[in-house]
């Protein structure tokens, strides 16, 4: 039994959350049970991801290949647990567990009723299963299906609150993102038509052999993938839906959406670009330049937008767009250090942004105050929440000993290695800007006097625990990034190695 579970872990990490999410709708009247099951799955997911990561680490970075249904590669669907997949599984589990813990005992008041809370857990588990699937799959059509599942569940989670703004922003999100899915499917179709394969490895081999016969089709397919997945992962000029969606969603949903969902799409983009097209083809098509420029523009522009926002969640949402720019920049530089930085930064940002959104949500729930200008003195009334917020901000601003620094440092090295001084400048300026829009919140919270009439306090112990867990993860990732960094480096080397 134990060996069976161990051998089939690559598929079980995907199927287990999905199975539970199928059952949850029948438990709408039993919120406690639903919460328990969701937490259980998050814990199982964390241990499964940890085990797979330790396998990858101890195996020297070799990937485990799992053929669905016993059908080998060119015919069947392949799951590959390599370093990148292990890193993403671990990140997903690391952020999901605190997000679930934060939701327990709390979600019903945010979404209105316990029925809706159970539906929220259903969507959450669907999203979690889809993210795990995106991490492990090696088949481009599978990517499409999982991306759609994730998109639908995200959309449901954004619309979970009953107010009209939530429905409106979810609809905007859905319309933009389904345009993206159509483009993504078009890209998959073009790749399938010219290569005859959906498996990434086989498609890549075929593509490198024949791409010169179809230069325009390859270019078109690459741009379809870039724009299609770019809309979904809110890359800079295509981010218009993100601020509204994130500020309207319940706080665990914003944490997961900003921390994981957009990262999942980005990992898919990275897999498609590097595993299907391959590094050298990206450079020959000049895609790397486009991606780098988009990344730099995203870092600077979105940070400037963030400075102008007064609503805390919107400010954090623009910060998400800016931080995604870092990952994009790392992707465009096509060298191992930059990719390591991008991958590690995705994990670091997932934890940091999740803790920021959870803290922001806790503040809104406790005080009803959404704006930065209203937060004076809140640090003394909600010490744990603001401490967690501070940790997250320091990490995003790239202060040493916090998670974000390690990623940014590697990105900086990567830009210098690629001779891209503008990229290096963007990394530094972005960090300064990040400090400029996050530190005023902390200053207001700690240094300004609180209006005396307020009675504010930290949320319940589960919510505090979840923020402490995430804050601890951010610090651990910053102080001893060892395993994560090793996974990221190996994943980067693997990505680069595909021609």
């Amino acid at each position: 039994m134990v060996t069976a579970i161990r051998d089939h872990l690559p598929v079980l990490v995907v199927v287990a959350p999905l199975c539970v999410s199928f059952v949850l709708p029948t438990l709408v009247r039993r919120l406690r049970l639903a919460e328990g099951l969701t937490t259980l799955i998050a814990v199982i997911g964390l241990s499964g991801a940890g085990y797979l990561a330790s396998l990858v680490l101890s195996g020297g970075g070799t990937s485990t290949v799992y053929s669905m249904g016993g059908w080998p590669a060119p015919w069947g669907v392949e799951l590959v647990v390599g370093s990148a997949a292990a890193l993403m599984l671990l990140t997903a589990a690391m952020v999901s567990l605190p997000a679930v813990l934060f939701s327990v005992n709390h979600l019903s008041q945010e979404v209105g009723s316990s029925n809706r809370a159970v539906w929220f857990y259903t969507l959450f588990l669907l999203l979690y299963g889809a993210l795990a699937g995106m991490a492990v799959t090696n088949d481009i059509f599978n990517v499409y299906v999982l991306v759609e599942v994730a998109m639908l569940s995200c959309c449901g989670m954004v619309a979970a609150r009953t107010d009209s703004r939530a429905a409106e922003s979810a609809l905007t999100y859905l319309i933009l993102v389904s345009l993206g899915s159509a483009l993504l499917l078009g890209g998959i179709g073009l790749i399938y038509i010219i290569t005859g394969h959906l498996n990434m490895g086989y498609a890549s081999q075929e593509l490198s052999r024949i791409w010169q016969d179809y230069p325009r089709v390859v270019r078109l397919a690459a741009s379809f993938f870039l724009v299609g997945l770019g809309v979904k992962s809110a890359l800079f000029p295509l981010h218009v839906w993100l601020p509204d969606a994130l500020s309207c969603a319940p706080s665990p949903a914003s944490a997961v959406l900003s921390g994981l969902a957009v990262k999942g799409y980005l990992i898919c983009l990275m897999k498609v670009l590097y595993n299907v097209f391959g590094g050298s083809l990206i450079q020959q098509l000049a895609l790397d330049k486009i991606i780098t420029v988009l990344g730099m523009a995203g870092i600077i522009a979105a940070s400037l937008f963030a400075l102008a926002q007064d609503e805390l969640k919107r400010r954090l949402a623009f910060s998400t767009v800016a931080q995604l720019g870092y990952a994009l920049l790392g992707m465009g530089l096509v060298n191992a250090s930059a990719l390591t930085g991008a991958l590690f930064y995705m994990a670091a940002h997932a934890a940091s942004t999740a803790v920021l959104f959870l803290a922001a949500g806790a503040i809104v729930t406790a005080t009803g105050k959404k704006r930065v200008s209203e937060l004076a003195g809140i640090g003394r009334k909600m010490p744990v929440t603001m401490a967690a917020f501070t940790v997250g901000s320091l990490s995003l601003a790239g202060v040493p000993l916090f998670a974000g620094f390690v990623g940014k440092w590697n990105l900086l090295l990567g830009s210098l290695e690629a001779g891209n001084w503008l990229g290096a400048a963007a990394v530094i300026v972005g960090s300064v800007l990040c400090g400029a829009y996050l530190f005023p919140v902390i200053r207001a919270a700690y240094l300004e006097p609180a209006p005396s009439d307020d009675k504010r306090q930290d949320p319940g112990w589960l919510q505090k625990l979840s923020m402490i867990l995430l804050g601890a993860a951010v610090i651990i990732l910053g102080v001893m990034p060892g395993p994560f960094l090793k996974l990221a480096r190996r994943a980067a080397v693997d990505f680069i190695a595909v021609r």
Binding site: A4, H8, V15, C19, F22, V23, P25, G69, G70
Partner: protein, 143 residues
């Protein structure tokens, strides 16, 4: 939403069995002919939706209560996943068919395909119940 029309009701009751049988036929023959669980499930649901349209939502709801569609939706998909786990229980990959020792029969006959026929039934149930519940969600305006 009520349409009081005797002819409509009579014809619906007459046609309904054929629609349902056709839907199930397509579901069960998914492994040997075009069609399959999604198309068949939709047809089954359409038959039911025709009934609910002709006889009114309340009467439609009386035949298939909300609970039934919810449970059918959940367990239809769970059935699929559990069948996939059969492979794992036998020590072969998820969703394995012939490898898991399931009899795949003679190609071209209805008993062929092994697991696929069983999977089709689960998906058919899921699709039919989802379509029905979507129909009612849209009608009862409690989105």
């Amino acid at each position: 939403m009520k349409i009081r029309d005797l002819i409509l009701k009579r014809i619906t009751t007459l046609v309904l069995p054929f629609i349902q049988v056709y839907g199930f036929y397509i579901i069960f023959h998914g492994q040997i002919s075009p069609g399959g669980s999604f198309a068949g499930g939709i047809i089954v649901a359409l038959g039911y939706i025709a009934y609910a349209t002709a006889f009114g939502v309340d009467e439609g709801r009386a035949v298939v209560p909300e609970k039934v569609t919810t449970y059918a939706e959940s367990y239809g998909t769970l059935w699929y996943a559990l069948l996939g786990l059969v492979g794992i229980a036998k020590g072969v990959p998820f969703l394995a068919n012939k490898l898991a020792g399931i009899d795949v029969g003679v190609p071209g006959t209805i008993s062929s395909g092994g697991l696929i026929a069983l999977l089709s039934i689960g998906i058919g149930i899921k699709v039919a119940s989802t379509m029905v519940s979507l129909f009612f969600t849209m009608l009862e305006e409690e989105v």
